[in-house]
């Protein structure tokens, strides 16, 4: 009898599970179709101006339950937001990459404002020295995954939002699988490293950054605006990218940029206003100054999103940003020829370090420049200065790209 009861319970549980899976699958398909339709309408310029509706509450079609109408009533009262925008937001999927200084305030507002499905990607754990800016976390979560901490806070603010936890680092190998779970709407991200800004070209990206006492914000891949690669066809060197852990950051600065990111994501997801596409916001906290500048539009020549773009999903998965931005031989030092003599100690210590790492008695020293002219002079000088092991790479980086690695970028 008891065994039968147990079987029955597990059968029901099983059926429930499979029904729920079917339901979420159908929900996803409905939302995807709605999103497609909305995109088509946007392209055709037939977007409904919510402010034209005499009374937003009585608008005929919406997806809001009575509880939602109560919860979001202050949004619904806004003539330029209203029922339609709130419905769009509730049907949107937004992915936040990084639950740190920018992601914290962004997540708090996106959850509170009613984004339908909110994904959080982060591989890190909460640390005491994060707390001054990563305001979504509480002391009780120190040592625990940021994803878990952030999701707990979001759920406690708004239990009607579907929160999805991705406790992993975003890499080229898993990015597409994660993005594909957010088919309806807008990919929103604050990105910890330059690499993903550089290669994520397919979805609208609300990109923010804050360091020291300065912040920056723009929207990529949206409505004729540029992608990151349109703006920077050649990636910045990794040495040009400072980190909060190295350079410091005033807590409230990412707070401000993160709030603005939430605002832009909400505008895009709910199809209201003019998102910051083709423009960039520069924030100087010390001078109390916000400047908004015009940046270039989408480039037809862009390798990632242009007319003849050849960047495929397969290439994306295999993309090795480190390899792309580093010189062909690593480790390497970038030394302009005029400062060669002044920087000899750097070369000596780099050679010693390499010898210690490999346990070999003599590390090899190669010199490469753009076309192979300066490197010859450098090798001559190095020989005179006692670095007799220095060898020249004939033809420089251009020959490297031509003869060795055809994927190596030339400039």
């Amino acid at each position: 009898m008891e065994a039968n009861g147990h079987d029955e319970a597990s059968r029901i549980l099983h059926e429930l599970q499979s029904l729920k899976a079917t339901k979420s699958d159908i929900d996803r398909r409905i939302s995807a179709l709605e999103s497609q339709l909305r995109h088509l309408n946007l392209q055709n310029g037939t977007v409904v101006n919510t402010s034209a509706l005499p009374n937003p509450i009585t608008a005929a079609h919406h997806d809001l339950t009575p509880e939602m109408i109560h919860r979001y009533s202050r949004h619904l009262l806004l003539p330029s937001f209203g029922v339609e925008a709130q419905s769009n937001l509730i049907n949107s999927s937004i992915l936040v990459v990084g639950a740190g200084g920018l992601g914290s305030p962004a997540l708090l507002y996106l959850a509170a404002c009613g984004a339908g499905r909110l994904g959080i990607v982060d591989h890190d754990v909460v640390e005491l020295n994060n707390m001054h800016r990563q305001v979504i976390h509480t002391e009780a979560f120190i040592g625990q995954p940021k994803v878990k901490s952030a999701a707990t806070t979001c759920r406690s603010i708004n239990s009607s939002v579907q929160i999805v936890e991705h406790h992993e680092a975003l890499r080229t190998s898993n990015a597409l699988e994660i993005f594909n779970q957010y088919p309806l709407y807008y990919f929103f991200a604050q990105i910890q490293s330059v690499s993903f800004n550089y290669i994520v070209e397919m979805l609208p990206l609300v990109s923010g950054a804050a360091l020291g006492l300065e912040g920056q914000l723009t929207v990529y891949n949206y409505n004729g605006g540029p992608c990151y690669r349109c703006l920077f066809p050649t990636p910045p060197p990794t040495t040009a990218c400072q980190r909060c852990a190295d350079s410091g950051v005033l807590g409230v600065v990412p707070g401000i940029i993160g709030c603005l990111q939430a605002l832009e994501a909400i505008k895009i997801a709910s199809a209201v206003g003019e998102p910051l596409s083709g423009r960039m916001l520069l924030f100087d906290a010390l001078a109390a100054r916000i400047r908004i500048v015009k940046i270039r539009g989408r480039s037809p020549q862009c390798e990632a999103c242009g007319e003849n773009a050849t960047f495929t999903q397969q290439q994306f998965r295999e993309f090795d940003y480190e390899k792309f931005t580093q010189s062909p031989l690593t480790p390497s030092l970038n030394i302009p020829l005029p400062s060669l003599e002044a920087r000899l100690p750097e070369i000596s210590s780099a050679l010693k370090e390499e010898e210690e790492r490999n346990g070999s008695s003599s590390a090899k020293l190669y010199v490469i420049c753009r076309r192979g002219n300066d490197s010859q002079r450098a090798v001559q000088n190095l020989h005179k200065l006692g670095f007799t092991s220095a060898r020249d790479i004939v033809g420089g980086l251009e020959s490297w790209a031509h003869d060795v690695d055809s994927n190596f970028p030339t400039y």
């Binding site: 800016r133 910890q192 490293s193 360091l211 920077f232 990636p235 040495t239 040009a240 940029i257 302009p336």
Partner: protein
């Protein structure tokens, strides 16, 4: 020619941590106008005190540096060939990442 030059996003560290420079740039003898290419050379010689490779690469700015002439991306005004006028404001900003 009176110009205001501003450095941000960490580039100010290359010029004694001073963000705003009000400068007077002379045109080359016989030249009819001052273009951005000339200005970059002038900045490199007169303002950049350390790690010039963090500012320039070849004859232009290094990748990741955004140049704005009167709050507008220089890509829209002709990049290195942009003609400068009296009292123009030129901003060099290194794009930030993370937070």
């Amino acid at each position: 020619m009176q110009l205001t030059l501003e450095f941000g996003g960490g580039l100010e560290l290359l010029c004694d941590s001073v963000k705003v420079h009000n400068v007077n740039v002379d045109m080359a003898k016989g030249a009819e106008k001052l273009i951005m290419k000339d200005l970059l050379g002038w900045v490199h010689t007169n303002l950049i005190k350390e790690r010039p490779e963090m500012f320039m690469k070849g004859d232009t700015v290094r990748p990741g540096v955004l140049v704005l002439v009167n709050d507008c991306d220089w890509e829209l005004s002709g990049q290195l060939d942009t003609t400068l006028e009296e009292k123009d404001v030129v901003v060099f900003i290194s794009t930030l990442h993370g937070g």
